[in-house]
């Protein structure tokens, strides 16, 4: 359990949120030109690293807005929270 600072509502408890997987995955511009392997890579393959990870989260029991989060998966420390469409404030 940890606290998440929703960019719209403020600090709330984790149980109000839902994790939405890895952030900043860009859809290929020409999907028809991809091989099945490349398309499967885009659709299904996600990073599951120990360390800094960029993720999408949804405040599902609050404002129901999506936002991005930079989280250290090894200790659940939240490095930054930022709105959709914004650039990550940390690298």
């Amino acid at each position: 359990m940890f606290l998440i600072n929703c960019p719209f509502c403020g600090e709330r408890e984790q149980s109000e949120f839902k994790a939405g997987g890895e952030a900043h995955i860009v859809r290929p511009k020409q999907p028809t030109e991809l091989s099945d392997d490349q398309w499967a890579e885009y659709l299904f393959m996600r990073k599951n690293i120990k360390g800094i990870q960029f993720e999408r989260w949804n405040h599902i029991h609050g404002c129901r807005k999506w936002f991005n989060m930079v989280r250290d998966t090894s200790n659940d420390e939240i490095k930054a929270v930022y709105k959709m469409g914004e650039k990550p404030p940390v690298k």
Binding site: F8, C9, G10, E11, R12, E13, S15, E16, H61, G62, C63, R64, K65
Partner: protein, 187 residues
């Protein structure tokens, strides 16, 4: 209001806590992002929508609750005289908001049940089943929050000190109300 059976049959009273359903009350959800949307709603209803997160605004007849940056709930302050689903406010907003493509209006009168709680034990009750930190919330009149109570989505409006409105979806209201009664009896 449509002819739904009343899920909450009786008002309940405990030391420091009274709970009752208030109906019929008109409830609308309005959504929009443009600046013209905010001014059109303001002019139509003579009510400024709250821009600041987790706040509300109030006129003589209506209260607007902030739900998200582009979503508000509007409900009537007084109990309606007629028990039907024809609301002048909704018609007015449909004409000025929907037909001008500024935003959307949804009638949620029958979707949400409004439970009014009074007394100094309201937040003691909430703290038994909600992860939200009510410490600052309870002392500031007009604050709004959406959170979960015993895993059920609720909207809490701190109408006045020791006077709180709670909105819950109709299908969950029976279970929530019985849980609240059970929890209140143990405070």
């Amino acid at each position: 209001m449509l002819n739904y059976s009343n899920v909450i049959q009786n008002d309940k009273s405990y030391p420091g806590l009274q709970m009752r359903e208030i109906k019929p009350v008109m409830k609308l959800i309005i959504r929009g992002k443009k600046r013209q949307f905010l001014s059109a709603v303001g002019k139509s209803l003579n009510l400024l929508l709250p821009n600041e997160a987790n706040t509300s605004s109030r006129s003589d007849q209506l209260t607007a609750l902030w739900l998200s940056p582009d979503e508000w709930m509007i409900f009537s302050n007084e109990i309606l005289k007629t028990d039907d689903n024809n609301y002048n406010v909704e018609k007015l907003l449909n004409r000025n908001i929907c037909k001008t493509n500024l935003g959307a209006v949804t009638d949620v009168t029958d979707q949400f049940v409004l439970i009014n709680l009074k007394g100094d034990k309201i937040f003691d009750l909430f703290e038994t089943g909600s992860p939200f930190n009510f410490n600052d919330f309870k002392s500031k009149k007009g604050l709004v929050t959406q959170t979960i109570l015993t895993k059920i989505d609720i909207i809490v409006h701190n109408q006045d000190i020791n006077d709180v409105n709670l909105f819950v979806r109709r299908s969950f209201s029976d279970h929530l109300f019985s849980w609240m009664n059970d929890s209140a009896s143990r405070l």
